[in-house]
């Protein structure tokens, strides 16, 4: 098969895959009698049309950056971690336990401790499938799927029987103390100016104390931690010995073993980092937004990480862009559900199609492109 030029492989293949997914989605909309043009307009307005909309898009993107990175680091070690969803739920448990443990004096302390809890619990949930893969050869795809279901059952049990405050009917933990509240975009100096409420006269609206009022958005400081995580994973994978070993192992297990790399060590380390990253997502949604642990807290973000990693070609820069794209899709899909007759489930379809075209039918796109380049080269 003709080898594609690097730029085509890196940029053109995902773009064509994305276009194909978009075209099929448009076809689905036409088939159910809706207008794709109207849909994309509503989505763009709802997800990108104002700073307020961006406040939601970037909030979702933050979660997807973490889960996308989690899938990526496992992919580089040749492992397919479908367990991000369960690991993120356990991460939520870690965050909740830390936040409820103390009356935190300041959010920075709470954040540092909660990150530890989230990463620890996420990694612990990935540890068993990793160990079974490394020592007993149990297929990690199957075990991580099973652990997703076990995690969800475990959390239902804990929320109903253990963490639920007495007298409450909700299957949810108590609300975290005020000291554990993370600054959201509309509470961060300077940045908050974007979210000022304007009166009809075009002047900023003021509250009773004469201070400006802001629109509340869920995006919070976790967004910056997510960017830092992208940089850290990039540095780890391409600029450390461990990263080199992980990638070498993922490319060829036999060659890696011959070079003295221990498969057990790499599988364990890669999966522990992966689980920790998926768990860290919980500081965004559990600590940064809902401020208590709810049932099904990850709400599918663990699975979207698969799409994000594939779309982003397993590179942190790609993952950042793909996560924003999926943030757009998630927030835009919610806008669709509110403003049109198109069910919110459209975003699940698009998500599936993106995974299908970028992850499973990428070879088809490559074959087509190869034929194109061959012909051009022959002329």
């Amino acid at each position: 098969m003709t080898k594609l030029p690097t730029w085509a492989d890196v940029a053109l293949v995902p773009l064509i895959s994305l276009t194909l997914a978009a075209l099929v989605s448009a076809g689905v909309l036409l088939a159910i009698g809706q207008s794709p043009l109207e849909a994309i307009t509503v989505m763009a307005n709802g997800a990108l049309g104002s700073p307020y909309a961006w406040g939601y898009t970037l909030y979702y993107a933050t979660s997807f950056i973490f889960t996308g990175l989690a899938v990526t680091i496992a992919f580089h070690a040749g492992l397919f971690n479908i367990g991000g969803e369960g690991q993120a739920q356990l991460g939520g448990l870690g965050v909740a336990l830390v936040c409820l443990a103390l009356p935190w004096p300041h959010w920075t302390l709470a954040l540092a401790a909660a990150m530890g809890g989230a990463a620890l619990f996420g990694a612990a949930w990935a540890a068993v499938p990793a160990y079974l893969q490394a020592r007993r050869g149990s297929h990690i795809v199957i075990t991580t799927i099973m652990f997703n279901y076990i995690a969800s059952a475990l959390l239902i049990y804990l929320l109903v029987n253990v963490l639920r405050p007495t007298g409450s009917m909700d299957p949810a933990s108590a609300t975290f103390p005020a000291g554990a509240h993370l600054p959201q975009f509309h509470e961060i100096p300077l940045l908050q100016n974007l979210f000022q409420r304007m009166g009809a006269d075009g002047l900023p609206r003021l509250n009773a104390q004469g201070l400006p009022m802001y629109q509340g958005v869920p995006a919070n400081v976790t967004f910056f931690i997510a960017i830092a995580a992208c940089v850290a994973i990039w540095a780890l994978l391409w600029h450390t010995k461990l990263g080199y070993e992980i990638r070498a192992f993922g490319k060829s297990e036999k060659a890696a073993v011959y070079a003295g790399i221990s498969p057990f060590r790499i599988i364990m380390i890669a999966m522990l980092i992966s689980g920790a990253l998926a768990g860290l997502m919980a500081i965004n949604n559990v600590m940064g937004q809902s401020e208590r642990l709810l049932q099904n807290s990850a709400s599918g973000a663990g699975f979207i990480g698969i799409a994000v990693a594939l779309m982003g070609r397993n590179h942190p820069i790609g993952i950042f862009l793909a996560a924003v794209l999926f943030g757009f899709l998630f927030q835009g899909g919610a806008a669709l559900g509110l403003e049109t007759d198109i069910p919110i489930e459209l975003r699940t379809v698009v998500q599936g199609l993106v995974i299908l075209f970028t992850g499973a039918l990428d070879q088809m796109v490559r074959m087509l492109l190869a034929a194109f380049f061959r012909r051009r080269g022959g002329e």
């Binding site: 149990s138 795809v141 075990t143 099973m146 652990f147 475990l154 379809v349 039918l361 070879q363």
Partner: protein, 322 residues
């Protein structure tokens, strides 16, 4: 637990085991041919929606059944194209199809019926009706066996009996026919099958399509037999439990029957926490019972109950030598 309660639980268990068994056999054909199929769930869901929608419109459950199989086959075809023709990642293709199915079934049902992603409730001939096995009246009076025959075995819809009959049939096809031998060979060592002049692509496609038909039956049973209509996400992870049962059964048909009956029994018990409590004398949380099939599968996978070894060429696309 008295005998009557036991029979009730067994009856529910058989109902619950049926879609698991059909999906498990679907996975058996596909994986024995070397194509990992995580997409059982999606195909079942698609079939459940198609069957319920068409049955609601035509008023005939049989036309609905055909539509269900067609819906599932469409997804099986995409899975085959991605993983056989274009040599893509089989696991990713399966995951992708599950998401597409989860969303598209709601989109279609909503645009057809406008009832929040559900199909219109099925009545009369649009549903499978229970059938009584022969001699129920005569045998029912025999102690122990009689009530078991009448309460548990008799009175199910036709698809339950089809599923049970498919177990010996699948055993026969896989172990006693030339097709079955080649199918198993292509999952272990496709190069050898190719050398013998048999088309790997055609064999794998037939396996994937058989899986499509079986998932179609499983999904159609969910929406037209077990329940009276389609609701969003109605398969609720059954495709994954079937996958777990397949591993539990170590990719063999008879063991698949026992595994799915066991998992069906656990699902039935999860509905009756009172029975469980009276048996064990301690309160066992329902979520634990829900999670038990998955926990058992992890234990089996860990190799504590004999080793579960998947077909050797599973998951790897076959590239013909040139």
């Amino acid at each position: 637990m008295d005998y009557a309660t036991f029979l009730q639980v067994c009856d529910t268990a058989l109902r619950f085991a049926t879609p698991l068994l059909l999906a498990c056999l679907a996975g058996l054909y596909s994986e024995r041919a070397g194509i990992f199929d995580i997409g059982l769930e999606g195909k079942m869901l698609m079939a459940a929606m198609s069957a319920a929608a068409v049955a609601a419109i035509t008023g005939s459950v049989w036309i609905g059944l055909i539509a269900g199989i067609a819906g599932s086959l469409l997804f099986a075809l995409v899975h085959g194209l991605a993983s056989i023709t274009f040599r893509g990642n089989q696991l990713i293709a399966g995951v992708a199809l599950n998401f597409v199915a989860s969303g598209i079934t709601v989109l279609i049902a909503q645009s057809m019926f406008g009832q929040g992603g559900r199909t219109a409730p099925l009545v009369g001939n649009a549903r499978f009706t229970p059938i009584d096995l022969p001699f129920v009246e005569a045998i029912a009076n025999i102690p122990v066996i009689g009530p078991f025959y009448a309460e548990v075995l008799s009175g199910h819809t036709i698809l339950v009996y089809v599923a049970l009959l498919l177990v010996p049939l699948s055993w026969w096809v896989l172990y006693r026919t030339r097709f079955g031998l080649r199918l198993r060979a292509v999952g272990e060592n496709p190069a050898s099958v190719d050398t013998a002049g048999v088309s790997v692509v055609r064999l794998r496609f037939s396996a994937v399509l058989i899986a499509g038909v079986l998932c179609g039956l499983a999904g159609a049973y969910m929406s037209t037999g077990l329940q009276a209509g389609f609701g969003r996400e109605m398969t609720a992870g059954r495709g994954y439990i079937a996958l777990a049962a397949l591993i539990f059964a170590k990719w063999r048909p008879w063991q698949a029957l026992w595994a799915t009956l066991l998992f069906g029994f656990l699902q039935a018990l999860a509905l009756r926490p009172d029975v469980v409590e009276s048996l064990t004398r301690i309160a066992i949380p329902v979520p634990f019972l829900d999670a038990l099939p998955y926990i058992l599968t992890v234990i089996v996978l860990a190799g504590f109950v004999g080793k579960a070894i998947p077909p050797r060429a599973g998951g790897e696309p076959y590239v013909k030598e040139r």
